[in-house]
């Protein structure tokens, strides 16, 4: 599907003046999602506790132009399930006269990979028609940059500090798309704010899917990743160009397709060196750690290519 910019909706889901940091990727995730709606289609946003939620809804103000629901940190998928079930039955019984809206969750990595994983799994397994988008800034940013299950290997956070003995997070990032896809849902994908056409196309596919869908979006955070706010799109693009965060989709847990191929990847150091959270890795004594990271990146991309080949044969 070729996207035509003039045909994209002009309305924005977020009003200007919210309190997210300048350069924050989270509002771009919301805005790009909204661009996938067709005229007359409606979205209900469910957001767990986190930066996006606290910075857009400080009472008595709100930045949201569509219905917005926040309940707690670990239950966005369950709340979304309830909203979907509510609209479904009210429409069936003639108690709600409008059209079924799309229920879309925008969850942080903490609210998705960690504390909200159980509720997410339940929602995916039960088959609610909900699009769950994880905006992944790779740490608990709202509470001040603590590590999460999404924080990458050797990245600095306040709870995976660069100490004399341990240089940043010792564990690797959780493969959340594989976890979501393992529920054999109609649609799971990764997306990037730097590849807007790919992003919007994927959201559209997810909305059209019959059943639950999941999209993981890397969401650079200038505060937590320690880079100049004007570089957000550059950082996001480099994540793809280095194959650090490949763009792909998985249909029904089986059919894998790399949507943005990266035939000549840049070295991961290109991505690492512009972020303060990786500054220590550029020191000679950690050259081995960079090698480990590079190897993991290579291996995962090759693995994806194999999966893609398997899916087409």
């Amino acid at each position: 599907m070729a996207l035509s910019i003039p045909k994209l909706p002009r309305e924005e889901p977020l009003a200007p003046g919210h309190r997210l940091c300048s350069g924050c990727a989270a509002p771009l995730v919301v805005k790009l999602t909204f661009k996938a709606l067709r005229p007359g289609e409606r979205m209900v946003a469910v957001v767990p506790t986190g930066c996006l939620e606290v910075a857009t809804t400080i009472y008595p103000e709100t930045a949201w132009k569509c219905p917005f629901i926040h309940v707690a940190f670990e239950n966005a998928a369950a709340v979304a399930s309830g909203i979907e079930a509510g609209f479904k039955v009210l429409i069936r019984k003639g108690k709600y006269k409008g059209k079924m809206p799309y229920v879309v969750v925008f969850g942080g990595d903490g609210g998705t990979f960690d504390i909200g994983l159980q509720a997410l799994s339940g929602m995916l397994e039960r088959g609610h028609k909900v699009l769950y988008i994880c905006y992944d800034n790779e740490a608990y940013m709202n509470t001040g940059i603590q590590r999460s299950g999404a924080t990458p290997y050797r990245a600095w956070t306040t709870t995976s500090p660069v100490g004399r003995k341990i240089p940043g997070k010792p564990q690797f990032k959780k493969n959340i798309v594989a976890i979501a896809a393992a529920h054999e849902i109609p649609y799971a994908a990764t997306a990037s704010i730097a590849y807007w056409a790919d992003f919007i196309t994927k959201v559209r596919k997810a909305l059209d899917a019959e059943g639950p869908s999941f999209i993981h979006v890397l969401a650079p955070c200038p505060r937590g990743w320690r880079y100049d706010p004007r570089l957000t799109i550059t950082v996001a693009r480099l994540a793809v160009e280095t194959r650090f965060a490949p763009l792909y989709e998985v249909e029904y847990g089986r059919k894998v397709r790399i949507t943005v191929k990266v035939p000549r990847p840049k070295p991961v150091t290109e991505y690492l060196k512009i972020q303060g959270r990786y500054a220590h890795l550029l020191r000679p004594e950690y050259a081995k750690e960079v090698e480990i990271l590079q190897r993991a990146v290579n291996e995962f991309y090759e693995y994806l290519e194999k999966l893609e080949k398997l899916s087409t044969t």
């Binding site: 809804t57 629901i69 009210l90 709600y96």
Partner: protein, 393 residues
């Protein structure tokens, strides 16, 4: 006309919920609530009720689903107890603060450890500050009736608070009793057409639900909940009257038996009320005068009614089927002490803790408690503030 059927407490809950034409049910099984969930699944599977049944993966999600569904304007039900209620704890406060008129049945069960499946009230009493209306029932008929009343109370726009209907685990949940049921049409006529939620989620009229409210606004939200509880007091009275007109069964926030001529009053909640009433009657035959007060609605606390009922009493025993280690006494005891602080003359108040983990309250225990009260009347001394009845020391 009303049908009389044999139902266990759990079945009575499910039957009432079906008649209330609930839109969304989300629940997770836990003994002794399980049968409610099973029956409701049957009703949905057989098409006897047009509802979405969301078979959640935990109680935390059960209540979260209910909150989401309730915000769409749907009529919503869930059920749990004990560990399940503890797991919901975080969302209890959110459900009441978002003013979701959810009805939840609780088959009261002790909390771990040690793990135990039998009755006490530690689970719901531990949630007493969560902003939910709490109704404690005495028999299966009252369980059935209270579920129907609960929807009518919660969904009233002057209230918009969630309600827990508590029934003693096994003692009521699994005990079959004769229940006079209402016709479906009668229940429908008694309830509101739908919850009076003023601003259900509607994309045509976008709103923000569950915002951040900082020191400049948070307090006002909480103050409004207090106001809603105050309104609930009069709405509960109205609903009890309307229900009496419909069914011939009149409930009140408290029920007082034999208190006019008694200097001594025992207060308790749940199924033990029946046992205590039996004991009180027996003792009357021996010429011993003890009064009994059942606290049916525990939140909002029936302040006015209790103050009137306890006027001029000399001894009050508050019975708690819960313990609160390190506190002055059980929750009912502490509430009663606060209530009577201004009383003139002030009665002696003592606490009895009984029945933890399903330990039986035998008729002789019940008589013993009455005699204990009479002894305090005679001596004017409360020797032990908390008396544990039925425990090995």
């Amino acid at each position: 006309m009303a049908k009389v059927i044999g139902l266990t407490g759990d079945e009575a809950v499910a039957y009432a919920v079906k008649q209330c034409d609930v839109d969304v049910i989300a629940a997770y099984p836990i003994t002794p609530q399980t049968v409610m969930v099973e029956r409701l699944s049957d009703y949905v599977a057989d098409g006897e009720i047009d509802a979405e049944f969301v078979p959640v993966e935990s109680e935390h999600s059960a209540l979260s689903v209910c909150v989401g569904a309730s915000l769409t304007g749907a009529r919503v039900f869930t059920a749990t107890c004990s560990q399940g209620l503890a797991l919901m704890h975080e969302i209890l406060y959110i459900a009441s603060a978002l003013r979701c008129p959810i009805v939840m049945a609780i088959a009261n069960r002790a909390l771990s450890a040690p793990i135990n499946i039998h009755c006490d009230h530690s689970d719901t009493l531990g949630s007493r500050d969560s902003g939910w209306i709490q109704i404690y029932t005495e028999n299966v008929q009252e369980v059935y009736d209270s579920i129907i009343e609960a929807f009518r109370i919660s969904e009233d726009k002057r209230v918009l608070l969630p309600t827990m209907v508590c029934l003693d685990g096994f003692i009521l949940s699994h005990c079959m009793e004769r229940v006079e049921t209402l016709e479906d049409a009668e229940v429908k006529g008694f309830l509101l057409p739908k919850p009076e939620y003023p601003y259900p989620i509607d994309p045509e009229r976008p709103m923000t639900y569950g915002p951040v409210a900082l020191p400049d606004f948070y307090f006002e939200f909480k103050r409004q909940q207090e106001e809603a509880m105050k309104n609930a007091r009069s709405v509960i009275r109205e609903v009890n009257d309307a229900f009496a007109k419909l069914s011939g069964r009149k409930y009140d926030v408290i029920r007082a038996d034999f208190i006019e001529d008694s200097d001594v009053v025992i207060m308790c909640m749940g199924s033990a009320v029946g046992t205590m009433r039996h004991a009180v009657r027996e003792l009357r035959k021996e010429g011993l005068k003890v009064g009994l007060i059942k606290v049916r609605v525990y939140r909002p606390f029936p302040e006015e009614e209790l103050r009137k009922a306890l006027e001029d009493k000399k001894v009050v025993i508050a019975m708690d089927r819960a313990c609160s280690p390190g506190a002055m006494g059980g929750p009912l005891y502490e509430d009663v002490c606060s209530l009577l602080y201004d009383a003139e003359p002030k009665p002696k108040v003592a606490n009895v803790v009984y029945g933890l983990g399903g330990r039986d309250l035998t008729p002789s225990d019940a008589k013993g408690i009455c005699k204990y009260a009479l002894e305090i009347l005679k001596t004017g001394i409360v020797k032990e503030r908390i008396k544990f009845v039925g425990v090995r020391e």
